[in-house]
Amino acid sequence: MNWRQIFLVLKREYITRVRSKGFIWATILVPVGFAAFIGIMVFIAVWESDVAFELAIKDETGNIAESLRNLNERRYLDYSHIDVDSLRTMVQRELITGYVVITEENISDGRNPELIYSGSGGMEFILSVESDFRQVIREEKIRRADVSEEIQQIYESRISLETRRLTREGEEQDDDTIFLSFVGMILGIIIFVAIFSYGGYITRGVIEEKTNRIIEVIASSVKPIELLTGKMAGVGALAITQFGIWILAFMGLSAIAGPVAMSLMEPSQMAGDMAAVEAELPAIFNLPSLETSLIIYFILFFILGYLLYSSLFAAIGSAADSDTDTQQLMMPITIPIMIAYFIMFHTWRSPDSVLSIVSSIIPFFSPILMVTRIAITDVPFWQISLAIVLMMITFAGTMWLSSKIYKVGILSYGSTVGYKDLLKWIRQ
């Protein structure tokens, strides 16, 4: 192996690709798309808080309107003194969204309250009004039932599950399992897509050298193994560049998204409780920070997975004469990635099941599944190390196999190659 030659190949592969229009567009468009996505979220958040639905409450019981106003001052207006006809006119003129008349029957006979409204607001509005009324009427009923305060409290209590993680060091941490599950799945999908796209770059690059008929000129200067290594390293460097840019853009955008959204909020809201404003923003602005170790593992497993598969993608390219030839030969590569991809949807839900653990250690599945697991759960270090060691060993194997196929493949034109031929080349 001559490193100067490998470096020259690497440089060419890297520079010609990094300057290509396709690469530049993809690199720009992904963060732009992400920014647009955040922009839309901000937009939705801002508009959602802007539009106030005002409901007039004509309360004939005396308590309900006040309770509702305690729940949401901006939505419920106590219009008990105004007659129904005036309320109807107000709705028609769109001065208010709607009105509800609360009578004794709604409380004692259990008759459902009726919302008369202009029809705007949609599902979310109706559901929240419904839940408000349910709560207020129940409270009123309990109060009237003259039960002890203790029982009142029992009814009023809302039970949900608070989860906190106890680390090995004895610290308690906020638990982000649900958030991290999504992170795990997204990282898995990213690696899945990345292996296919960068692998595809390699296959097409190899085929291009064959169809351009330049391969023999190159082969008279460079050993096939040097060419293969340089190619894989060049596209690998390209992948790291692209991911580096994306990760930086992602972090930058996440950092500015919160403040930008906040500044778009109305000043009146700003004056209010900051925490309340933040709570109204979609979850994306309060991303729990990703652990550095997760990012490092992601990059490590991505690189290992890339190496493992890209050598095979190169071998396939060398055996094919055109893109269409690759379809059939691609099967042995596609199947393990697809299996890993499907298992990921199981791993995402139960990362510590036997299936998840075992398959995350199988080298061809590790790049996707181990990253998903590391993101979601606390994976024992021995499992991670075992997966890494097995991937390295497998990589040595696939590289050996691929270089044998590649060596023969790049110089054979014209004939359609099947698996039998590949076996013959390996044995040569």
């Binding site: 030659q5 020259l8 060419r12 050298e209 351009n212 000129v217 013959k424």
Partner: protein, 308 residues
């Protein structure tokens, strides 16, 4: 003196096909050496082994006395039969890349590229993408890519196939010029007439074996003046009456007749005069084509069509 290329006992099989079988020949310094034979005779396989692209099963190849290796690759400028360039790369960058792979420093390579582009009046193409060039233009770039690192040995595999007439002439000039500078050139072809014009030495391949090798003049002389070139007008059926001859290159008023078994050429002339008017009758050395046929025997030649 050490031969620039020395091949001894070279063999290579692909599966059950023996592509090259114990081939031996040597190329002298400062000479143009022709590797001849029909398609599929093993020329390209031999050339690839000399270029250290594929390893031989048996035998030895020495370049300037050294075993083939990445080092000897850099002493050779090679233009394969299947040739091409990266379509999306610029001419200058492409030549720089190829020259650097052959061991040149970037600065050295740039200077040589400039020289050759100017020499072929192609300097304007420097920043053009190869895909935009015409076929003839990219062939010129291909020549430059082959010779830019200024090696001592040049190998061209079927160099004239697919070239337009202008570039064909240009390549001939380059080859002769390189030889005059004391460089060694090996080229392969299945078209014998090209060899007659250019080669000093030849090596004939058939079915993976070397059937004849040596100095072209000497080879021809050894075969003796036993070929008749005849130009005539009239009835050509007399040609069919001749026995113990082989007729190559027959047309309505011309024939190349190789005399096989001591038949007197005067006798041929007599038979011809009875039927047709003779415009020219000449006794010459046999053509390389004829030498090839008589060496391997007519029945042992694969791809007879391709020979002509």
């Amino acid at each position: 003196m050490i031969n620039p290329i020395q091949v001894s006992g070279l063999s290579k099989s692909f599966g059950k096909t023996k592509a090259v079988e114990s081939a031996s020949f040597s190329v002298d310094k400062g000479k143009i050496f022709g590797l001849l034979g029909p398609n599929g005779a093993g020329k390209t396989t031999t050339i690839r082994m000399i270029n250290y692209i594929i390893p031989p099963d048996e035998g030895e190849i020495r370049i300037n006395g050294e075993h083939v290796s990445p080092k000897t690759q850099k002493w050779i400028g090679y233009m394969p039969e299947e040739r091409g360039l990266y379509k999306k790369m610029k001419v200058g960058e492409q030549l720089l890349y190829l020259a650097q792979l052959k061991g040149l420093s970037a600065a050295d390579a740039r200077e040589k590229i400039r020289f050759w582009l100017k020499r072929f009046s192609a300097y304007d193409w420097h920043s053009k993408v190869v895909g935009e060039l015409s076929k003839g233009m990219s062939q010129k770039i291909q020549f430059i890519a082959t010779i830019v690192h200024d090696p001592d040995i040049y190998i061209f595999d079927e160099p004239f196939s697919g070239l337009d007439p202008i570039n064909s002439e240009l390549l001939k000039e380059i080859i002769i010029e390189l030889r005059d500078k004391g460089k060694t050139i090996l080229f392969s072809t299945h078209r014998m007439e090209q060899v007659e014009q250019m080669c000093d030495d030849i090596c004939l391949f058939n079915n993976g074996k070397v059937v004849l090798t040596g100095n072209l003049r000497k080879v021809k002389k050894d075969f003796g003046k036993n070929t008749v070139l005849i130009e005539f007008e009239g009835d050509s059926t007399f040609l069919d009456e001749l026995t113990d001859v082989r007729i190559n290159n027959r047309s309505t008023n011309f024939a190349e007749i190789r005399i096989l078994n001591g038949l007197n050429h005067q006798q041929i002339l007599r038979i011809a005069m009875e039927k047709a008017e003779i415009h020219k009758f000449q006794l010459v050395e046999p053509s390389l084509n004829e030498i090839f046929i008589s060496t391997v025997g007519e029945d042992n030649i694969k791809n007879k069509e391709l020979l002509k």
